[in-house]
Amino acid sequence: MAKVEKKRALTEESLREFLREMLLIRRFEEKVEERFRAGDLPGFLHVAIGQEAVAVGVCQAMDEGDVFASTHRAHGHTLARGTHPNAVMAELYGKIEGCCHGYGGSMHLYDVERGNMGANAVIGGGLPAVTGAGLAFKLRDEPRVAVAFFGDGATNIGTFHESLNLAQLWKTKTVFVCENNHWAESTPGWQHSPVWDDMSKRALAYDMRSIKVDGQDVQAVYEAAHEALDFARSGEGPVFVDVETFRMHGHYIGDPQVYRTKEDRQEAADQDPITKLRDRLGVSDDEFESLDAEANEIVEAALEFAQNGTDPQPEDALKNVYA
């Protein structure tokens, strides 16, 4: 198979679209934080504030038909891939109108129509499935790719190792996107991984191709993801994308972050991908405010939609156990 390695040019218009999306994710998650703190939302919730460029860059680079698996920090990936904010918010509220009809919740967002194979609350849990889906695409000669998102902490678990090993061995159509935000809950990279400062070393154990990218630069992420997807799609093998990014907030909503220094938090705040893109595009205050208002409006509508959603019937709990 021919090696495809085109970088699709990004117009300013596209980048503005990216900004809009990142802003939507940001405002969405801020609202989720607010509602959780207000005691409105059930469940264990994790926001990816600071990591929006990864979600948007990768999902924008994906083709129709591509699939992905996400993690406990799934709102951004799901929204970036086109699931309606109403459906996501309604899911967080446990409503029938939610993208999983209230069965899943924040850590288990699925949207099969848009290729979302499911967010996973078990670290590494989605990686073998993405390997298997990439295998299926290869066996059936389909031009599709399966993408896994996961964190730096996830590279420590056996599931990660077995999945990457198998993917490389069989050259499955898979892309592994490691969002290295320097933390696994309260555990800093240096405390959980001997190669925390260069996660691409993980790929060496499989002779797997890897790409390093600045996760706060959405264009760079987009281009790297494109390269990875093209390579995987062509059947040449999986790619490990080593993304450096920053978790601006706590591990979970409400996390007092006692384990984290002020400086570390400030460093993360300084890496806000939205500010970076805004500066780069030279978006004026007025224009930004109008984009922001637009995002907020969508989020407010989603909230209203969710709050007015329908609770499942208790007995619905016994449905969907089997197909």
């Binding site: 699939v67 939610g98 993208c99 999983c100 009809h101 209230g102 069965y103 899943g104 288990h108 699925y110 949207d111 099969v112 194979m117 499911g118 996973n120 078990v122 849990g125 989605g126 990686l127 073998p128 499935a129 993405v130 390997t131 298997g132 889906a133 990439g134 295998l135 299926a136 695409f137 066996l139 059936r140 399966a146 056996g158 599931t159 190792h161 077995e162 999945s163 090993n165 198998l166 061995l169 069989w170 449905k319 969907n320 156990v321 089997y322 197909a323």
Partner: protein, 325 residues
Amino acid sequence: MPELTYREAVRDALVEAMRADEDVFIMGEDIAEMGGSMAVTQGLLDEFGPERVRNTPISEMAIVGAGIGAAMAGMRPVVEIMYEDFLTLSLEQIVNQAAKHRFMSGGQVKVPLTIRTQGGAGWSPGAQHAQQLEAWLVHIPGLKVVYPSTPEDVRGLLWSSIYDENPVVFFEHRLLYPVKGEVPEKLEPIPLGKARTIREGTDVTVIAMGPLVHRALEAAIAAEEEGISVEIIDPRTLQPLDEDALVESVKKTNRVVVAHEAVTRMGFGAEVAAVLQYKAFDYLDAPIERVGAKFAPLAFAPVMEQFIVPHAEDVLEAIKRTVGK
């Protein structure tokens, strides 16, 4: 009717399913050239090639998990875990992923995956190659659990498992592979969730699984000589369980022995006993007897191994206890 061994019957179901459907493929350790550690998949590589008969690295988690992903992508993988003991390495994927995707997605996803595995005592495999862990899987909503004891059943049930839309954990027993039995000329699917009456009787119902079905048969014949008429039922599918068939039989015989090779404590027999004492309380004339492995890992030395696992005599003694002999 032709005769097949249990091993051939498993192979037959795989071959038929792979011929019938391009989406069926198999993965596992050493299943290709070697034909699997139990020679079940011998010849499949030749017929179907390495794309569909895939030797995997030693990575039980990824084997099951890749099966899940391929199933979610529309295929019907059949994966093999070489020894049941190594299910312990893949349970995260079986229990948290395969069993729950459909539910957590609110019905969007299905996982038509079959996980074949085998185990059991015999040949002194030692403590890490002989456990019987089917009870664990029965505890997990979202899974189906199958444990056939005869060539006919293993063939028909494997076919149905492959074509079931849910993840199925399919247990085979090492000592059954060479066992011969009649099978229908053409493969006939056997629906999951239906027990089989192996033998009719009036005094005691023995509910037996896997190799214990055969040991129960021996025991029944011996019991008959002592004037005890034994009915034997093999649930075959542990999840869903054909409770009605068990209850019906007990209502007739009023006495029950449950027999499996797994450790008795917290084994599947506990569930059967709990169900029957509940649903047939007024019909029971004696306590439900459980026959299973004694409470120890499987020892290596044959004398100790054989002391641990249940035999026909253990079933016979339990039968006699229930009738007060």
